[in-house]
Amino acid sequence: MPPTAIEQTSAHPLDRIIRADRMPHIWCPGCGIGVAMRSYATAILESGIPEEQHVVVSGIGCSGRVAGYMNIDSYHTTHGRAIPFALGLKLVKPELKVTVFSGDGDLAAIGGNHLIHAARRNVDLVVICANNFNYGMTGGQLGPTTPFGARTSTTPYGNPELPFNLPYLLAAAGAAFVSRWTTLHPRQICEDVLYAFAKPGFSFIEVLAPCPVGFGRPNRIEEGLDEMELYRHRCVPADGIPLDQMGIDLREERPIYVGRLIDRDLPPYRLQVAPS
């Protein structure tokens, strides 16, 4: 049998939960954000919680465009402020499942303060962070997760800064649940989002995602596919590895730990109530 064309169609099973009228999205070929988003979309459908009860809030960035593509109540706010916006929304309507979907720069650079304070308060939010090791949207600059020595458009001689180890930071700040996966793990992302939906308090799910245009090319990871291969070869389950070892380094010999990293019961944030 010769090669066969795949049957063409114009609709996708997820079209009811994504804004199909806005497809194709703006993301580059090989970009991982779409995979992270579909994992979230799938979790919504599998959650058993009506779609009308789900809200997604994003900041600004390529990852921040997710809010614009999800066919649920969705807010595309300002750079770095998705978490406090989501917090206000959630406290007023605690019955809603409020998820923040945004990028490493949005959440951990300009939005870093809200991130650690929301984790500290243990507010009942699910935060999905698409970590592509750079600022994709603005053209591939240094971000707070860019590995030491990596090249970006603002570190042409190699990054002189050490990156955040996000799970460790979130653990220290007070998050109840932290996990890390890559876009090679769509099922696990979906599972952990589902788990986070059910878990009271602050959940943080880091999804490593290729950004071939911004991060990949300057660092000789030409295609999204190449970064996926890298994940395939270097991802290792984190079981038992201490949190301070979770940093990601580009050097070949270092593993990338993935899995559920923190899962603990801390009192979730409750508004003050006057004794009656």
């Binding site: 703006i26 993301w27 580059c28 070929p29 970009c31 390529c62 465009r65 994709g136 949207m137 603005t138 245009v213």
Partner: protein, 179 residues
């Protein structure tokens, strides 16, 4: 003399670079003034992309296209979008591997992307197109465009760039049969 040139395609095709090279060749290596402007898609890559060059023999006030005299089109989308905004008698250059012209239109075609792929990197389609543009229009000369390439592209890619340019310049500037 004011000539308005538009290069159109999608992100990743090197549209901006092509525009820049035309402007640089004209303003630094020929006795012309030039302005290059660029239409960004959304902040990210991957959307539609275009670059406009105004070339004139004196100071340029309004730096944008009012109506294109020359078009270099690298995608179908760009063709549909820009072709009929331009002068009806504009010089239209297309990558005819990617663009199917409308009935009644007879642009100059070159299979720029295929040629670049044959050379080894489809990314060089823009430079193939530049060579073709220089040959067909003569607005900017081969020598000055090559000089612009030399002073712009990373040295290790210069050789391939010059080859791509030559491919475009030397291919026969035939007009597409009006379909």
């Amino acid at each position: 003399m004011r000539t308005e040139i538009r290069v159109g395609g999608f992100g990743g095709q090197g549209v901006a670079l092509a525009g820049y090279l035309i402007g640089k060749a004209a303003s630094l290596y020929q006795d012309l003034d030039a302005v290059v402007t660029q239409a960004y898609g959304p902040e990210a890559r991957g959307g539609a992309s275009s670059a406009d060059i105004i070339v004139a023999d004196g100071p340029i006030d309004y730096p944008f296209l009012t109506r294109a005299d020359v078009l270099l089109l690298l995608s179908q989308e760009a063709y549909s979008r820009y072709r009929w905004e331009a002068h009806a008698d504009a010089v239209v250059l297309i990558d005819d591997g990617l663009v199917t012209p409308d009935g009644g239109d007879a642009p100059h075609g070159i299979r720029a992307t295929s040629l670049a792929e044959e050379l080894g990197r489809r990314l060089f389609a823009n430079v193939v197109m530049l060579g073709f543009f220089s040959r067909v229009t003569g607005i900017v000369e081969r020598a000055t465009l090559e000089k612009a390439l030399e002073t712009t592209v990373p040295p290790r890619t210069l050789e391939m760039n010059l080859q791509a340019f030559a491919l475009g310049y030397e291919s026969s500037p035939e007009t597409e049969p009006a379909a």
